[in-house]
Amino acid sequence: MKKTRATKWVWLTGMVVMIGIVMAPLFMMVKYSISDRSSVVTGGAVIPLWPYHPTLEQFRALAAMDRFAEAALTSLEIALLSVVISLIIGTPAAYALVRHRFPGALVLATFLISVRFFPDIVSVIPIVETFTTVGLVNSVAGVAMAHSLLSIPYVIFIAMGVFEAIPRDLDEQAQVLGASKAYSFIRVILPVALPGLAAASIYVFLLSWDEFIFAYFLLIFGDLSTLPVLLQKILSWTPQHNLLAAISVMLSIPVILFTFIVQKYMQTGATAGAIK
């Protein structure tokens, strides 16, 4: 349909406003992270839009800070463990749901996937109470297990899509050539599904890396922290704006990077050359 001048201006204004609102907080995060003390603590004067003396001292401080390194390591351990748990548990289930259309498979799939709609704030207290009795609070494994509860439904959902895109002929061909179901799943289908599953695991990694509620409730009384929990703890001790912003930057960078990598990865055809 034809665009009038007026609609074009409305569009342009909307675009500028929208991008401004999206970018402003991100800009501020970066700005604060490189601010020197005089640009943050101004003693009543206006806070500058760009630091008087841009500096990397906050990042240097972080590098020297044991708590930060520990928290980053803990975050990494938890995220990797939850990727491993949820892939090992979720991927085979997705394969079974896609390839073996037994009665009730669809209902089961819907149930398993919709577990992710269960409110985390409702499940956190029963989980903490249960984990306390079995000694899983204040532990990497406990948080990773809780995160897997959130991510397994996502793995099942993404992996089902991946497996559906792989022609059934491949499994059947492998079986006709002498492979058992397990062998054809592990040696034929999984390698073909790898790019899609890589995307799923990045997604799951980020889910855990970002997660706050379970990590907070499970770690609050111990000395372990993930990065989000550390951020909250520092906020409640000393709201030092430039330090908070520097941690925020460190926390966000992998997420922003990976989000764009995943986007690209998804588009690589997994089955090029397999058929036709």
């Binding site: 059947e172 492998a174 079986q175 006709v176 492979a179 390698p191 050359g273 397999a274 058929i275 036709k276």
Partner: protein, 376 residues
């Protein structure tokens, strides 16, 4: 190598009957082709034999083994899928070696087998490539190689040539024939293409809506079709099927097509007599209708008629002529030299020795019923 036996095999998906009471024996080393229209159950038959689909009723034997409870990987069969189903993450050599590795063959034997297959199927220099870097014909040959190295008791091929272009299809057809002659494997082959079926097979099995219509040598199904469906399916261009009736005439029997009457040859008179004054369908192949002047003049004149030429399709060596005989459409084949122009009339003659008469209710070929003279 093994004999394959389908015994009273039925297959239902839910309530739809896809295969009904299939009885078929494929002899050791035989090349049998399943043909039939789309959806008639050819693929389902192969998949049941491969063990990818369970039979609803009936038994399948491979060799002397009752195969029903045997899982696909233990049946000793190999199947080439219509889509080839090459494993995209494995090279050509790895694809070919897949089944051998599973059998735990020693490495030397595997390498020797790969060489053998590469030689047989002309895959030189492609061993290290991934499937996505192969042409359609090459993929097809890799799929075949992957199946052949296993020395399967039975080789199943589901429309293996349908994704190739016409030239390649002809080449691969010759290749398949050569391979079969060399390996003497039992092959069950599925195709849509009746020319392919005729040229490759020892025997052809024609299926219609889940039932076997006829099984026989290519020549048999062509010259002695059991019923109207087979007659119509085999042969190109298709057989002419004209409603007619059988009548007594001067002590002889004639078949009345309306515009003309043809005498029924002596050997079949007794077979046809019970159908006197009943509706039947007269079948004659286009290549068995001749121009009168080009054909032996001693045929009885009664079998000839003038037809009106409507369309001429020159094929080079011969012409396909669409004509009309008082409103009845007729296809015939003439020599390329024969002059036939649209709008002109042409005298033709039916070769009654090669004509068929079908029961219009059951569709059966009256002349091929067990008690008739034509079954040798």
């Amino acid at each position: 190598m093994a004999t394959v036996i389908f015994k009273n095999v039925c297959k239902r998906f839910g309530n739809t009957k896809v295969i009904q009471n299939l009885n078929l024996t494929v002899e050791d080393g035989e090349f049998v082709t399943l043909v039939g229209p789309s959806g008639c159950g050819k693929t389902t038959t192969l998949r049941m034999l491969a063990g990818l689909e369970e039979t609803t009723e009936g038994d399948i034997y491979i060799g002397d083994v009752h195969a029903n409870p045997v899982p696909p990987q233990k049946r000793g069969i190999a199947m080439v899928f219509q889509s080839y189903a090459l494993f995209p993450h494995m090279t050509v050599a790895e694809n070919i070696a897949f089944g051998l590795k599973l059998k735990k063959s020693p490495r030397d034997a595997i390498l020797a087998k790969i060489d053998w297959a590469v030689e047989l199927l002309n895959l030189h220099k492609l061993e290290g490539r991934l499937p996505r870097d192969l042409s359609g014909g090459q993929r097809q040959r890799v799929a075949l190689a992957r199946a052949l190295v296993l020395e399967p008791k039975v080789l199943l091929l589901d429309e293996p040539l349908s994704n190739l272009d016409a030239t390649l299809r002809l080449r691969m057809r010759a290749e398949l024939k050569r391979i079969h002659r060399r390996l003497k494997s039992t092959i069950l082959y599925v195709t849509h293409d009746q020319v392919e079926a005729m040229s490759l097979s020892d025997r052809i099995a024609i299926m219609e809506e889940g039932k076997l219509s006829q099984v026989g040598t290519p020549l048999d199904v062509y010259s002695k079709p059991d019923n109207m469906f087979v007659a119509g399916f085999i042969g190109s261009p298709s057989i002419n099927l004209i409603p007619a009736s059988i009548r007594e005439n001067d002590g002889g029997l004639i078949i009345d097509l309306g515009p003309c009457q043809c005498g029924i040859p002596e050997p079949w008179r007794e077979t046809c007599r019970p159908y006197r004054d009943r509706e039947v369908v007269f079948g004659i192949r286009p290549e068995h209708i001749h121009r009168r002047d080009s054909y032996a003049a001693d045929l009885p004149d009664i079998n000839s008629v003038d037809v009106m030429v409507e369309v001429v399709e020159p094929l080079g060596d011969r012409n396909i002529v669409e004509a009309r005989m008082d409103g009845i459409a007729l296809t015939l084949v003439t020599e390329a030299t024969a002059e036939a122009a649209p709008g002109r009339s042409m005298p033709v003659i039916f070769d009654m020795d090669r004509a068929h008469i079908f029961d219009s209710d059951t569709g059966e070929n009256i002349l091929c019923l067990p008690e008739s003279g034509r079954v040798s």
